[in-house]
């Protein structure tokens, strides 16, 4: 009986390992990145919010990373109340009815009302997308650099539409009369289902030449109208946003949706080879929408005994100095610079780096001792503002501390503040960040006092200089330690009274904190 169980367990382990291995072989990350073209479409619900959300979608800028296909259908209608979310099947039905593929082709090939088309956009995009290697290859071949525009034909299959639907739009008014609009949003992404053969068929059947007679022209126009090219669903994402207007909240959602979609659609993730070390350099820049602090992941390649190619993740890096490459490549593109932030091995020339978006937000949770007094739970949220070539990093952070030992039901000391930290990397594993924070310690729950300045009277101003040391455990997980000095400055009258009632009154003093950090 035991033998049978052991055998079954071993078989399962073996099967899982084999399946996992197969999966790994399939997931080979490559550096074959080409520009994609996108059309944004708004899903309308037939209510008063339609104009505002449509305006948000229309005005949203995708940046330099994507080409825009200017299709005629900017919005579609879903007959469903705004309080309910849209389902994929409902959006699929709409997409199939509209015929987006035809509109995309008409946009890319500048199709006019007579059905005449040209390849100006395609050739421009081909030239614009060409990398230095393409230019060098073209120079080495007889066709020459004139043929770079032909690369644009391969970009047609990288055409997408993003349908954005907003639901559960609500309005909240606080006690001071401030209005906040919040909304949920969903994005549904479809890719044109057009391979090389389908594109060749399209050229053959629908392309009208000057020498074509009227009958041929009519037949080709009809063929275009009857084109049956599918739009294939490739990804979906959700987001929520809140702001002072519906449009601003919707805009916030779209930004979040695009960030999420870039992590879900492999073709949208920029991938490129490292061309140099000290500092790490790669030929991408503003053309790919690269910004300071953007996170990339490095991969090297191996072959197993069977000759199967495998990509091996080797660590993360962040963009530091961004090159302006928004021109046609001539074989001498200026590279952007990067700083490695994790990984046991030094990232080497020739390895591939691939875009891996994050929010640049770190959440630190730890236990504080000392400082103003007592033992407190501490939570910091930091935002990475800037990364330099030598690995110095600027952070803006919010800090929150809850004294769990000094307080009682009536007097609960809570500290919160805002700070700035400047991190130095002695190695990529270790960051030392001096910081300074300013904040308040609030104490008391005097519910009977409803005066406007109650909060001020129950608070004290704190200044906190300190040093934070963070070490990588398994990125994005880090452990950190802090040593700091809390300076208790201006104190409200009620604060003074509550503080005096504590078993150990709070006062200026040095403290330490230990905990973990996770970067999102």
């Amino acid at each position: 009986m035991i033998n049978k169980s052991v055998f079954t367990a071993l078989s399962l382990v073996f099967l899982c390992t084999a399946l996992s291995a197969q999966e790994k072989i399939k997931e080979v990350v490559t550096s074959n990145y080409n520009r994609n073209s996108v059309s944004m479409v708004c899903v309308q619900r037939g209510d008063s919010y339609d104009s505002q959300v449509s305006s948000a979608v229309r005005s949203f800028s995708l940046g330099d990373k994507y080409d825009i296909n200017n299709i005629t259908t900017k919005s579609v209608r879903l007959d469903k109340v705004r309080s309910e979310s849209a389902y994929q099947t409902e959006i699929d039905g709409i997409v199939n009815r509209v015929g987006f593929a035809r509109e995309i082709l008409a946009s890319i090939f500048n199709r006019d009302s007579n059905g005449m088309m040209d390849d100006k956009t395609v050739r421009y995009r081909g030239n614009y997308d060409a990398k230095d290697q393409d230019v060098i290859n073209a120079r080495a071949s007889r066709v020459g650099t004139e043929a770079l525009g032909d690369l644009g034909h391969g970009l047609v299959s990288g055409s997408y539409i993003v349908l954005t639907d907003f639901s559960k739009i609500s309005r909240d008014v606080d006690t001071r009369g401030n209005v906040t609009w919040s909304t949920n949003a969903q994005a549904f992404v479809y890719q044109i289902g057009m391979d090389r053969d389908a594109l060749n068929d399209f050229y053959e059947q629908c392309w009208i030449y000057d020498e074509d007679d009227q009958a041929t022209r009519s037949a080709k126009r009809l063929a275009f109208q009857n084109l049956d090219i599918p739009m294939v669903p490739v990804a979906q994402a959700n987001a929520t946003g809140a702001s002072s207007s519906v449009e601003a909240a919707a805009n916030m959602c779209i930004r979040e949706l695009i960030t999420k979609l870039e992590n879900r659609i492999p073709a949208w993730e920029v991938a490129v080879a490292v061309i140099g070390k000290r500092p790490l350099r790669a030929k991408i820049g503003t053309k790919e929408g690269l910004k300071n602090g953007d996170r990339y992941r490095a991969y090297s390649y191996t072959e197993d005994r069977g000759g199967n190619l495998k990509s091996v993740a080797r660590g993360y890096l962040r963009a530091t100095e961004i090159s302006s490459n928004t021109g046609m490549a001539i074989g001498e593109t200026e590279p952007s610079k990067f700083y490695q932030i994790s990984g046991l091995a030094n990232i080497d020339e020739g390895w591939t780096i691939k875009q891996t978006n994050d929010w640049k937000v770190g959440v630190l949770a730890g236990l504080k001792a000392g400082g103003l007094g007592g033992t407190a739970l501490g939570v910091d949220i930091d935002y990475l503002m800037n990364v330099s070539n030598v690995g110095t990093m600027s952070y803006l952070f919010l800090t929150l501390g809850l004294d769990v030992t000094s307080g009682n039901g009536n007097y609960l000391p809570v500290q919160f503040g805002l700070g700035f930290a400047y991190g130095f990397h002695l190695t990529r594993f270790l960051e030392i960040a001096p910081y300074a924070a300013i904040g308040l310690e609030h104490m008391g729950l005097s519910v009977t006092d409803s005066s406007d300045d109650r909060f001020t009277r129950e608070s004290a101003l704190i200044l906190e200089p300190g040093v934070r040391v963070a070490a990588n455990v398994a990125y994005p997980l880090q452990v950190f330690g802090k040593i700091y000095y809390d300076v208790l400055t201006i104190q409200g009258p009620l604060y003074k009274m509550y503080n005096a009632n504590l078993a150990v009154p709070h006062s200026s003093g040095a403290g330490v904190e230990f905990g973990v950090k996770w970067t999102f």
Binding site: V28, S141, R142, V143, G350, T352
Partner: protein, 166 residues
Amino acid sequence: MIALTLLMTFSAVSANAQNKDRRKSFKSWDNYEITTEKVGVDGTKFVKVWGFGKTVDAATMAAKENAVHACIFRGLPGSATAMSTPPICPNPNTLETHEDYFQTFFAAGGPYLAYVSMTTDGVPSGTDRRKVKGGYKVGIYVQVMYDNLKRKLEADGVARKLSSGF
């Protein structure tokens, strides 16, 4: 004196072993991949070729050797955009007949380098740079000065001139 004798003996054995290795590698020198990328500019062939070596640099050099080797002995395969190219020396016995010539021709830093230029942008990268057992396998783009190479081999009497058959 004893030390000098030992040193000379060691050097002789080492050189002999190297030559042996070289001869051995000549005989098994067919295990590489090469593809024609596009039609090269006049008198050249534009190919992508793979090489193996203990380091990336060694693998890159091996790839260059392979490109020239293919032009001389194997010929270049056709592709969607280019016709195939026959070898300069189609006679399978050429290598054995002119072994000493090719030992020199393909020696480290040898004359073959004058007929091949790497056109890869920077170092071999991405999936063209693979860590394999015992070293690296790299794929590089190269331009082979095919017509010049052919003229050189004809002038040295290794390849037959087209007119020599008439």
